[in-house]
Amino acid sequence: MSTVETSAAIAAIVGAVVAVVGCAWHVRWMFSLPFKGDVATAKGSASKGVMYAYTLGMAPWEKESTRRHMVGYLRGVLFHVGIFAALVVFVASPWATVIWPSVRLLLAAVACLGGIAGLLGLAARFGEHNLRAISTKDDYFAVALVSLFVLTSALAVLSPSAVPVFYVVSAVTLVYLPFGKVRHCVYFFFSRFAFGVFFGHRGVIEGARSQ
């Protein structure tokens, strides 16, 4: 390995450590906050509500908002699928040469589409009146950075020479993760959980309602 490759790999590892420690800090902070279980007699099932919140409740046809903004929602879904592909590439990169070419090609295609979806989302954020009004600088930067991370993962999985670049971009992305909006990857689970408990317990979600 050249000095550049080694340095990039070390940077990526440092980034990963910062991201993991940072996320762990956020999780620990959340668990340090008060959380009172609901003592009101249930009308439905909180656990079924949580199940719904993490599964069917995320389906694009399930909400009026996602039906109305189907293109934007699917663009977001594609972006996140691309992020998962990029993370797979990141973890598997030391063994990239032994991964089947067809799998590498698939990862690259998914990441490529995901990265493009991310950039289109960024364009929408610049272009749409409402989105501009609610966006912070962090929103623009985070989407741009993660899109770059996803796109460079596509390059890295196809060409070993792109791996150092991917590592450097990964390092920046991962270090930034706990500090900017990307940390919603942690809070998302708490939010959906609270959603499921609330609407499940109260019997609002149809499948969770007691008869």
Binding site: T41, K43, F195
Partner: protein, 440 residues
């Protein structure tokens, strides 16, 4: 900058927020990615599509404060994450945002891919404003008057009993039975019925309790809880305490709340958590009780007495926030001949715009009437002549929308529709005139 010492104000805001930020509120504050697809789920936005009416925009106002106080990046680089320092001016601007531009109906929460509870965020803003002396005066007065009703009970009780005596006479006339009663402070009654101040929430329920031979007692207190609208949990708890004490004193098995969305949500879902334990009595809405009576055949109803087309407005508190979705439909299908659903309905229904205390705030009536436009459109599309609503705030709002937008409908509660269809023993029907509340 604000007019007072911002260091003091910042310190106070930090303390107030720190007390409020639990895991649920933190999740709501941290999770929003500002995708903006919540926009059209809000009736304010549908009525007037501007960025200020996007739910995420409103919630962002508290996030701006929160980041400035609690987020390290918000302190180091506030402009980067949109953190804003606390000032009098910025808190003043939140009065309209939280008290006049959101009814905390949770339609945006149901429609958020992340499940962000914006209602919780808006409640936290209201709480902050109330604690810093910025809450609308009328809500303060109504909350205090509710507390006064207990503290000054010896002074108010006679007037209340005078009111009930008058209503008892009307009940007797209506059911044609001189022995019919509206019991108050009835030790050993099975049900404590908590109505609102208005007679329209007492009389129809009295007829139904009479018709079903229910053992009941009317509460000395009203169900409304303006402390909730203020985001002032200690005061809301104090107002609820009156009812809990009365129910415990009388030893009732059940507290039945009148047709009122926030009162039901408060007593059924919120209050047990304030007290830290379930109540020693069951809490139900009159809507649930009526549906049960119908299902068990305890009420003989003649739906042909309600022949006009009826549509039903789902109260956000009862449907989306309490799961009372099928019960109103059980009632309507039994007591009217032409029930028409509005679209969307049930837990997806649009808020009428009158919730969260808005009907008691004349200074925001323009915003409120404007926010009711989607509801007006929904009602008109059904072609119905009668709009049934099982929440008093909704009824006030729908009544005003009816006048303002000249809908030409009649707004009525479910209990009144049931009484209209009621056939008493031996084929008698109650009263000469149908019990219809006047609109505002």
């Amino acid at each position: 900058m604000g007019k007072s010492d911002n260091t003091e104000l910042t310190k106070k805001a930090r303390e107030l927020l720190r007390k409020q930020v639990d895991r649920k509120l933190a999740a709501a504050l941290e999770t929003c990615v500002r995708c903006g697809i919540c926009a059209e789920s809000c009736h304010y936005y549908v009525a007037d599509p501007r960025p200020e009416h996007v739910p995420a925009y409103r919630a962002e106002k508290l996030r701006q404060i929160y980041r400035g106080l609690f987020d390290p990046i918000g302190r180091i680089a506030p402009g980067w994450v949109g953190a804003v320092p606390v000032s009098d001016q910025m808190l003043d601007s939140l009065v309209e945002t939280s008290f006049a531009s959101c009814t905390m109906c949770r339609r945006c929460t149901v429609n958020c891919p992340m499940g962000v509870d914006n209602a919780l965020v808006v409640r936290a803003i209201r709480s902050l404003l109330t604690a810093t002396g910025r809450a609308p005066e009328m809500l303060e007065q109504l909350a205090e008057a509710a507390i006064m009703r207990e503290e000054g009970l010896e002074y108010i009780k006679d007037l209340f009993l005078e009111q009930i005596a008058e209503l008892e006479n009307e009940l007797r006339e209506k059911v044609g039975d001189l022995k019919a009663r509206i019991p108050v402070e009835e030790q050993g009654a099975e049900i404590l019925y908590v109505a609102l101040s208005g007679a329209h929430t007492i009389l129809p329920a009295s007829v139904l309790f009479y018709a079903t031979g229910t053992s009941w007692s009317l509460s000395l207190f009203e169900a409304a809880n303006y402390g909730v609208f203020l985001g002032d949990t200690p005061r809301a708890k104090r107002i609820t305490q009156r009812i809990v004490d009365e129910a415990t004193r009388l030893g009732v098995k059940e507290v039945v709340v009148s047709e009122c969305g926030h009162a039901y949500t408060t007593l059924r879902w919120e209050a047990p958590n304030w007290f830290g334990k379930p109540f020693p009595f069951r809490v139900r809405s009159l809507v649930e009780v009526m549906a049960e009576w119908i299902e068990k055949g305890k009420l003989k109803l003649d739906p042909t007495r309600n022949r006009l087309a009826v549509t039903y407005h789902d109260s956000c508190n009862l449907a989306r926030n309490s799961g009372l979705i099928e019960e109103p439909r059980t009632i309507l299908n039994a007591c009217v001949t032409d029930f028409r659903e509005m679209t969307p309905n049930k837990q997806h229904n649009y808020c009428c715009g009158g919730g969260a205390g808005l009907v008691a705030l004349p200074e925001f009536s323009e915003q409120r009437l404007n926010a009711g436009k989607p509801k007006v459109k929904q009602i008109k599309a059904t072609g119905a002549s009668i709009v049934a609503a099982s929440c008093d705030n909704c009824r006030h709002q729908l009544g005003e929308l009816n006048e303002h937008y000249e809908m030409g409908v009649e707004v009525i509660g479910l209990a009144e529709l049931v009484v209209n269809a009621l056939v008493l023993d031996k084929g008698r029907v109650p009263g000469k005139e149908p019990v219809v509340a006047a609109t505002v």
